[in-house]
Every structure is written in C-alpha cells, then in structure tokens.
Symmetry: C2
Subunit: 381 residues, 2 copies
C-alpha cells in the first residue's frame, strides 16, 4: 500500500452536484491550556481509561511476547497512541504501557543486560495542537518521541513497524457523519436532530454502517502497521448489545444539544436547516458490532473484549454536571463552531449545563454502567 | 545511552552563584505564515541549499548502498531532517533526497517488484511551530511523516534506526553562546559586541571551542542513530581556513547589529550591560575545524567536504539587502526579542536595513563566495 494514496483527512466532500457540502468531520479538541482546553479538561477521560489499566497490564503480561518482538527489531519497541490530543492523558498512558512492557521483558529475560529502547509515536489529526503536546512532554520520560499527523483511518506508519498501539477515547469519532442522514430526499434524513440518539431506525443504521466502514479502515491500516504478534488496545464509549443510545446518559447529551439548537434557531439566530444538515460524527458500538468488524478484517485475534463502568467512583451524575459539560465542550466545541459559529456554540453549552442540571432526575435514570468498551487484539502471526 | 538523560534543550543555566543567568540559546525561527515568518522568508536558504543538490544526489548514487540498507530494515528507509523549521524548504529537501534514494535503488535492483517505504522524521526544537509544519505537509507526498521535538545536540532517535540524515542551515546554531564571553571577569568577556566578529582572539576561541563541543555532541548522537553505512549530510555557513569572520559578508551583519544595539542603549532604551551579556549563538566553521571534530568522533568516513558560493546567481548584494534582512529577521528575531523585547528588536532590524543599504559599497567588498560548507559523511560499517 502506498501511503500517499489516502494519507490525508478530508474535511470537505464534493457533492455530486458539484457544490461543496460540509460533511461534519472530526476536528481536534481545543488546544492550548486555557479554560476550555482539552489539556485542562480531560481528567474524566483519564479516570475512565484508568479503569482499564490493570486489565491492559494483565494482557501484556500474559500475551505479549516482548522478548520475541525485541529480538526482531534491534531491541527497539515502537508504541503508538492513536488520537493522542494535546496531553496530558497520553503521557500517562504511554508511561503505564511502557512500564508493563518493560516489566514483561524483565520477567522473560531476568538476566539480560540489554535494555530496550522505546519510541512512542503520538498520532492525531494534522490540525491537533501538537505544539502544546511537544512543549509539555514530561522531562523525565525515558522514550524517544514522534508526533505523527494524520487520520488513523488511513495508513500512518511504515509496514510492520509498530509493536503496541492503543487508542483511548478517540475511535468514537467517525471519519465523517454518514452522508444519507444529511440528504433531504433520503429516508435516513435526520431532520431536527444532530445525532442518531432517539432518531429513526434508518438514521441509526446509517451511523452503524459508517462506524463499520471506518472501523474496517482503521483495522486494515493497523493490520499492515503492526508486527505479527503486536498488540492493539482500544478503549472507547460503547453500549450493551441491543441497547438504544437514548437509554444511555450520553444520549441525553445529544438530545439536549439538538433541542437547544432547535430553540436557538427558532429564536432567529440561524436557520433550522443548519440543524438538519448537521450530524455529530460520534458513534458508540456494541461488543457484537465490534466483534463483527474485527472478524471481517480477519488479521487479529480477540484477546479480550468487555464493557465496563467508566466511572465506578461516581455516586451520582449530579455532582459533576457542569464539569462534565466542560469536558464535552473541550472535545466537541470545534466541530460545533464550524457549523454554528462561536456565539451560538457558546450559548448552546451554557444552556446545556443549565438544562441538564435542571433535569438531574432524568439524568439519574439513564444507563451509565457498562458504557465503556475495552478491546484487546493481537496481530495474527 | 538512555534517551532521558539529556533529551531536553535547556534555555537557561544556573550560574555558580545560584542566580539564573540567561545563556542565549537557539530559539526557533518565526512560526506561522505572516510577514516575518520563516515559511515566507526562507527562499534564500532554499536557493543556497539547492546549490548542493546535484552533489548530494551524486554521493547517494555513488556511495549509498540502498539495497543493503533496505534489506536490513524490512524495506523501510528512514530519513531525518535535523532543524527542519516550519517548511517549506524541508519538504523540498525531503523530496529530492527520496528521489535520489529511489533512483539508486532502481539502479541497484532494476527487476524488483518491491517498492521501498519511506519514513521522514522532521526534527526541530520543541518550541518550533510544528503546527504550521504539519498543516502544510505536501498532499502528494509519498512518505510517512513524523515530527521529532528535541535538540539535535542530544539523542533524538532509537539506536541504528536512521538511514539518511541531513541538516541544512541549522548547525551554525550553537546550543548556547559560550559562557566565558558573558563573564565580566573573564579575558574572553565580549563587551559591547554580540558576536565573535571583530572580537578578541579569546572570544573567537571561546566560540570555536563551543562549536567543537556542540558538533562533537551532534556527531556522537548521530553515530548511535545512523545504521552502519548510513549517510549524514550537512549544509551550513562556513569560512575558508584561516579567514576571519569580519572579512565575510555575514560578519558585517553582526557588527552592524552590535553597533546599532549600542546606539540604542546610548539613546536610553536599555542598559549597555544588556549588550555585554548578549552573544548570538551562531558559528561558521572552516573545513579544517570540521575535519578535526569528525576525526575526533571517529565513527564516520568523510566522503566529501567543500566550500561553495551559496548564491552564484547573485550579481550584487545590493539588489537584495532588504530581503536579506527579512530573512535574517525570520530566523533570529526570537532570540533578540527574548533579550531586548519586541520594540528594540523591531527598531534594530529597521535600522539595520537602512544602515546596510547605505554601506552598500562596504557590503560589496566583503567575501561572499566560499561561505557555505557541504559535508557528506558515511557511518563506518
Ligand atoms: N481520524 C482521526 N485520526 C486521528 N485522531 C483523531 C481522529 N479523529 C479524532 N481524533 C482525535 O482523537 C482525540 C480524542 S480525545 C482523546 C485523547 C486521549 N487519547 C485521551 O484519552 O485523553 C482528539 O484529539 C481527536 O483529534
Ligand atoms: N539544537 C537544535 N536542535 C534542533 N533544531 C535546531 C537546533 N538549533 C536550531 N535549530 C533549528 O534549526 C533551524 C534553522 S532554519 C533552517 C531550516 C531548514 N533546514 C531550511 O534549510 O530552510 C530552525 O528551525 C531552528 O529552530
């Protein structure tokens, strides 16, 4: 595969009519380190990913043959983080993974003098704020660093060059929202909503199909990049098999954002058609769907897959509604801003905090236990 | 060697007295794409480097055993640019180098079906504007990309992982100015000047010693990172053996900047001691000095070393004085600004253009023929 063929992430698509039509697409989270920045508002993701830490360590310990990998690569272990944002979570993740790999190596070769050299490759979209990432690299790190700009739905690394890849809270960003949900004449037209939550079966199916397509591209690329025996770990939002997204606490978020935007359009701030043509490229798959796409790809063995409560420490959502919304804002703001502008987006998030705080009883009824999926794969040898 | 030991570029040094003393140090050129940005003002560097293009292609063709390198690395060729800035020159350089390597491979293996995969690693200081670099990557590139933040005076890449490294117009940036030239009680105190041009022998020697030390660190790191048989190419400002920097056109630049800053301090804008304590970390070595440091290192064969006219197309400097100063400004502004602030720095560059335009006859008398050095090294096998 030639890397140039599809190396870039296209934010726009040309419609058949020749007009440029915006297909909402993943834009990076807020850069820098200000009030609404990702670097300041990502500790929920950190806490949630950390729920999986021990399990990932266990899988490395049991199933990653570090000695063999190191032998085949001049003692250099290459680790990739797919969708790293600006930090700091990515640094914690790298540290934990490297510790586990080192630990396994010491178990395998207790008497060796050679130490491994680690190269960590931080991937995100080209428009991610890599400057913030690079200037906040931990000073005491013991690995070589690279930033790799590009979409993880395409090839990012040379063939068979990565030993361990992980992606936390990134793969729910579709490469774009499905086109049919934006087409007025399609049965899947998603009028008056910005997501598949509470939408028609056609809309849900279109999103599911987009996820299947994107995840397939993701796995195709990783299958080429990972060495045989290499490991791929994914942590992302998920749903129990058969559960609808409107039953899940995050579904409430999308429903509320959609209805607030409809209100704002009725207040005359913009035309309703702006909502009709906007669909947030976010998808949370079930284990069944995940399994299917992995089996279709055929190059990986599933070592572990499970749903977990991402916030077992959280007694009640009501404690954290404003914080939760700031976290959502740090990640999603850019995508809303491109469609609705700064002012509308700001107002939407303000109202969202208020509305969800008022609806706190409804929030409490929603499912929020098993909504994080962990997938551990091994590249077949 | 452990990468963590000296991975970061320290802009400050603690003095023996415990006070933080600024040691002027390489800061990246102006980011973004505005009037004074490097990306808009670096075509002189491009023209100058391109004078060496054919020679580099020749060396690759004659001396780089691409077939052997590719065999030992699963057909992945890793190329590093050390001190890449924000582009666009680095992209042109990468393209030319990759074409030459591909060409050599086709000559060596005319009947092979396998194509090489290229990974280009773009290195610069962590504070370089990598965002501009990443968002301006050529769309039709046929290589995988990484940005590698860190000082090239330290380790940047895993052991034996790079096949070809080059550095154009970057290695004249010392890691810092020599400390003794800033010490009032030292015989090498460089009072009233900002560079070794026209300075005492002690100052010149201190700069030369700093260059020798830095270049040694540079070569030590590259010796570990390059595979045996790998190639290292350096293009940078140089001087003929034995020639003093005040005879060279760039020397006039430093002399004028120094005297303008002294004027500005006399006008009361800042204290003269600010000039005394500032020394620009720029050094242009002679072939003799280069040879010495390479032989001291001992891990490289010198394949080619020569001085060239960097601007054979340029009839007279007077044609280009304002452009020249903007180019200088794009690269050096940040370092002056840290010492003197925005206003003084702006005023200095304004006066510099005026002064050198007025002194155009003097400019013409200065040596500007063989002031670019090309060094082609091969890592011993
Ligand atoms: N197609 C794509 N390719 C690469 N990165 C992507 C992407 N789509 C989304 N992302 C990135 O995925 C990140 C999700 S935020 C999660 C960041 C980090 N892994 C953490 O756990 O905290 C964002 O930085 C976003 O820019
Ligand atoms: N110690 C160091 N490590 C890495 N890069 C350095 C450095 N000292 C200076 N540089 C970088 O070297 C670059 C010099 S400008 C030259 C850029 C490019 N090679 C070209 O030919 O156009 C700057 O971007 C500067 O930040």
């Amino acid at each position: 595969m030639r890397p140039n063929s599809s190396i870039d992430h296209q934010p726009y698509q040309i419609c058949r009519e020749g007009k440029v039509k915006m297909v909402t697409n993943a834009l990076p989270p807020n850069g820098g380190s200000g009030t609404f920045s990702y670097s300041k508002n990502s500790y929920f993701q950190k806490l949630s990913s950390s729920v999986e830490e021990r399990k990932i360590e266990e899988e490395i310990q049991k199933k990653l043959d570090v000695q063999k990998l190191a032998c085949g690569s001049n003692k250099i272990i290459r680790v990739a983080d797919l969708g790293c944002a600006t930090g700091p979570n990515t640094f914690t993740n790298a540290k934990k993974v490297l510790e586990a790999i080192k630990h396994k190596y010491q178990n395998q070769c207790p008497n060796t003098e050679t130490t491994l050299e680690f190269h960590v490759l931080f991937n995100d979209l080209p428009s991610n704020d890599f400057n913030t990432l690079f200037t906040s690299l931990p000073h005491d790190r013991n690995y070589f660093t690279s930033g790799v700009p590009g979409s993880f739905y395409n090839r990012l690394f040379p063939q068979s060059s990565i030993h361990f890849a992980y992606s936390t809270y990134a793969l729910h960003f579709l490469s774009k929202s499905p086109e049919v949900v934006q087409e007025m004449n399609s049965p899947a037209w998603n009028k008056g909503r910005i997501h598949y939550t509470s939408a028609s079966k056609e809309v849900v199916d279109a999103y599911a199909a987009q996820f299947a397509k994107d995840a397939a591209k993701f796995l195709d690329a990783r299958a080429l990049e990972l060495v045989p025996g290499g490991m791929l770990v994914i942590v992302m939002p998920g749903v129990p098999n058969g559960m609808s997204y409107s039953d899940i606490v995050n579904g409430l978020l999308f429903d509320s954002m959609g209805s607030i935007l409809m209100d704002l359009s009725k207040e005359g701030l913009f035309d309703e058609s702006q909502v009709d043509s906007f669909n947030f490229p976010f998808y949370a798959p079930s284990p069944e769907e995940m399994t299917k796409v992995i089996e279709m790809n055929g190059e990986f063995n599933i070592e572990r897959m499970e749903l977990t409560n991402p916030a077992p420490w959280l007694k009640s959502m009501n404690q954290v509604i404003p914080e939760w919304i700031i976290h959502v804002r740090a990640v999603m703001e850019a995508i809303f801003t491109r469609q609705f502008g700064n002012e509308v987006t700001h107002e939407m998030f303000q109202r969202l905090t208020k509305e969800l705080s008022e609806k706190s009883e409804l929030v409490e009824t929603k499912h929020r236990d098993k909504i994080q999926i962990l997938v551990v794969l091994k590249r077949k040898e």
